[in-house]
């Protein structure tokens, strides 16, 4: 029993389906490999203190490998350093730490890149129509939201975008609201943006629930046909919305894969003492049924086959 | 013990009531007897346990030991609702009013007047107008100079608040009225009004238990005087045959009840 490797997984929250899937993937892999999986999560996105406590508790519980999707990529670093000093292998999932060298390894998709892809696609898909953009963002201060938002703008061809700061340089973004990554709140935000500017014809959304909410608002206004929605995640519900024409394109990520790879590495470390290292990109794929030239994409069928969900 | 077997059946009777609060014993084997249609005054020093006694009789406190009989039947009041159902109405010393609510609402709290139509009966819709009118009627009986029945009780003077509590008990009693120092905060005129009211209640056939520190009031109105001392009944006196001074002496313990002549007892 005591020889059973103990592996910890710390997610940002328990509520986001992305992390729920990640946990499922890890659990499945752990069961397969005979490892014991400990899980913990922050109370809200941005709950760094909760994640620090979780790291400490997992070290105390005897975990030799800890996987973490950091809520705050900088503030988590000292706690990670302490765990590593105690001989624990730490793997960052989904979100890189700053500096990236603070962890042993990173299994992730590049969120900036995910944004970039939908931006590029949207640019082509819009053709020479003048874009009037609304952004359904995430809680101010959350890096994921900034990365995706700025990646989208960069991909769309807006100049002067840096990956780290929420930039409001482009006047074509007429409305930028916090959707909390939530369907109901995304809907509210979209309604208000439409009231502000009815000419909106392109909507960037932080994730697919927000996209579904935005679509609901557009539909209520009778505009769902004229407005393009792009999103990030690639969950099954999201891909089905791509198939249904609700979402124009979405960048698909692979949380199950990240988690499974992490568990494998952890079990390996327990058995052989060999750590993994470096950055493994688990990849992003643009999922759309309306491919455009110059942007590599997969269709909805591929998306559904690889989506993280039932 | 000076308890006597009366000829008429007792309306209320209590035997050996005990109530302890941590270290303090508020009632220490208290007996109690109330005869039909009488005004029974309960007197005693501060902290003698008078309020505790009547709280037990009105269901506000469940005694640790002892029994209570109503019309000779053993009763177990678990809450004031039980006592109310038996038609026992009480004015508590700390008044038990809802200060943010109006006078009319306080008068009818817990037995509001409903509109007669079936919809209203089912949803228990208030007849505000009737409640207001009835409130005016009840309060007029006491001649308190109160402007409006829709004034919150917290805007009333101390005595006016007491008037509200007294009017409430008199209006609804069907069996026994208990009043814990109903005239304490009242002016001379208002105090006399309440004494009149108590007499009226008695004349309508209901017995009244009156706790009071006001000896002139007690001697003016009481048929019998229950003297409470250190958590139990010390004696029951006949105000017609004993002086105020002797009564106070018994109450304070300066005079032993045994030293009294038989006609002084009741």
């Amino acid at each position: 029993q005591s020889s059973q490797p103990v592996i910890g997984l710390i997610t940002k929250t328990d509520t986001n389906p992305f992390f729920v899937k990640m946990k499922e993937g890890a659990q499945k892999e752990a069961t397969r490999l005979g490892a014991k999986l400990l899980t913990a999560a922050g109370k809200t996105d941005g709950d760094n203190a909760g994640q620090v406590a979780a790291i400490e508790n997992m070290v105390a519980a005897g975990a030799k490998t800890i996987m973490i999707t950091a809520s705050d990529s900088k503030a988590i670093v000292p706690a990670i350093a302490k765990a590593r000093a105690a001989g624990v292998m730490v793997i960052a999932l989904d979100t890189p730490t700053e500096p990236a060298s603070a962890v042993d390894a990173l299994f992730a998709t590049d969120n900036y890149n995910a944004g970039l892809l939908i931006g590029q696609w949207a640019k082509k898909a819009m053709g020479n129509k003048k874009a009037v953009i609304a952004a359904m963002d995430y809680n101010p201060g959350q890096p994921v939201g900034v990365l995706r938002h700025n990646g989208f703008l960069a991909g769309f061809g807006v100049k002067g975008i840096t990956p780290t700061m929420l930039t409001q340089v482009d006047t074509s973004v007429v409305c930028s609201q916090n959707s909390f990554g939530d369907q109901a709140k995304g809907q509210t935000a979209m309604e208000n943006c439409l009231q502000k500017n009815p000419d909106i014809n392109l909507v960037y959304t932080i994730n697919e629930p927000a996209a579904a909410g935005a679509y609901q608002a557009l539909k209520a206004a009778g505009k769902e046909k004229d407005v393009l929605i792009v999103s990030v995640d690639g969950g099954c519900a999201g891909v089905r919305n791509v198939e249904a024409g609700v979402i124009g394109a979405t960048s698909q990520q692979y949380p199950l894969k990240m988690a499974a790879m992490g568990v494998t590495a952890g079990v390996n470390y327990a058995k052989t003492g060999k750590k993994v290292s470096g950055y493994t990109d688990t990849g992003v794929n643009l999922i759309t049924n309306k491919p455009v030239s110059g942007v590599k994409s997969q269709d909805g069928k591929y998306g559904l086959a690889n989506c993280w969900g039932q | 013990m000076t308890a006597q077997i009366p000829s008429a059946p007792l309306v209320m009777e209590a035997r050996g009531l005990v109530k302890r609060y941590g270290q303090v014993t508020a009632m220490d084997g208290a007996d109690f007897e109330l005869r039909p249609g009488e005004i029974l005054a309960v007197i005693g020093d501060n902290g003698a346990g008078k309020s505790s006694l009547i709280k037990a009789l009105s269901g506000a406190v469940v005694p640790d030991e002892g029994q209570i009989f109503l019309d000779g039947k053993l009763v177990h009041f678990r809450s004031p609702i039980d006592a109310r159902k038996e038609g026992i109405e009480t004015v508590y010393q700390d008044l038990a009013v809802a200060p943010a609510m109006t006078i009319a609402e306080n008068l009818f709290l817990g037995r509001e007047i409903l509109r007669p139509d079936p919809f209203s009966r089912f949803f228990r819709v208030l007849d505000k107008k009737k409640m207001h009118d009835e409130a005016v009627r009840h309060m007029q009986g006491l001649q308190f100079a109160i402007k409006s029945m829709s004034q919150p009780v917290e805007t009333l003077s101390g005595g006016q608040r007491q008037g509200v509590a007294v009017a409430r008990s008199a209006a609804f009693a069907r069996h026994v009225v208990i009043m814990d120092e109903p005239t304490a905060a009242l002016g001379v005129r208002e105090g006399n009004m309440v004494l009149d009211l108590i007499r009226k209640v008695r004349d309508s056939g209901l017995p009244v238990i009156l706790i009071s520190h006001n000896m002139p009031h007690v001697f003016e109105i009481a048929d019998r005087i229950h003297v409470h001392r250190q958590g139990k009944r010390a004696a029951v006196l006949n105000p017609k045959n004993i002086s105020m001074a002797d009564t106070v002496a018994v109450m304070t313990g300066a005079l032993s009840p045994e030293a009294l002549s038989a006609d002084m007892l009741a």
Partner: protein, 326 residues
Amino acid sequence: MTSPPISEKGRMGFRAPSLTTLGPLIALLLACIFFATQSDRFLTSQTLSLVLSQISFVAVIAIGQTLVILTAGIDLSCGFIMALGSIVMTKFAVDYGVPPFLAILCGLAVTTAIGALNGLLITRLRLPPFIATLGMLGIVQAITLIYSNSQTVSGLPNTLNFLGSTFKILGTPFTYGAVLMLLLFGVAWFFLTRTAPGRHVYAVGNNPEAARLSGIPTTKLLISVYAIAGLLYGIAALILVGRVGAGDPNAGQTENLESITAVVLGGTSLFGGRGNVLGTLLGAVIVGVFRVGLTLAGVNSIYQVLVTGILIILAVATDQFSRRKA
């Protein structure tokens, strides 16, 4: 400084009771004038429709919260009870093929039962409402996420979406959910001001001992209040489902603070026994107007947080000033 009125515990020295809804109304008017100067799209019937349908489910939760707060309680679990309700309704209808109408009833039954459980914990185990509903918050959230597997339930039959559909008044579409919300405020107002149990709610919050001594069955009343609140959260869930077009396990995270805010903005005292459910409606509308108005004014979302904070303080300060003059 004027002296507080004769007061039990003199609480009003610090928080005067709102017996009118005048204060919040003035605040709302001032806010509207301000936003009208910021955007010419603000003063339209469209904005009104938006505000009403956006606040509809929080406002219905806030009705329940008003009842609870009037009894000197508090309900932190309201939002998650709504989320669970939305999941039960939609999962029953979509996954188990229960007829939509029955599925709705099941959802309402679940939320009402949880509300009643809150009431039982508070009255029978004598837990402070804060603790009972805080514990329930965690329990209900976990159950919701486990039961739904954190997955949104979509593909709903029309019956479940009904409250999100619209009808037109003078060309502006309004949702049935918003109408139901207004209706429920009317019912709650009637209940609280015109019926005996409604007045008992105030009495229990104002002086629980007096209520008990007056023969009000306080325990039964409190359990009923929490159960009715639960039912209202269930109705809020139905409105939410109609609005969003899906069952949302992640809903409800901010609704406890939002509903309490609406109640307090509306002038109801957190100490119980004083307040007005129409004030709550105003409180909810104020928050909704701030949100729409600030977006129309083009305020960056982070500055919206800032301005909303300032406006909340100003709104209640206006209220206090208007009352001090009166």
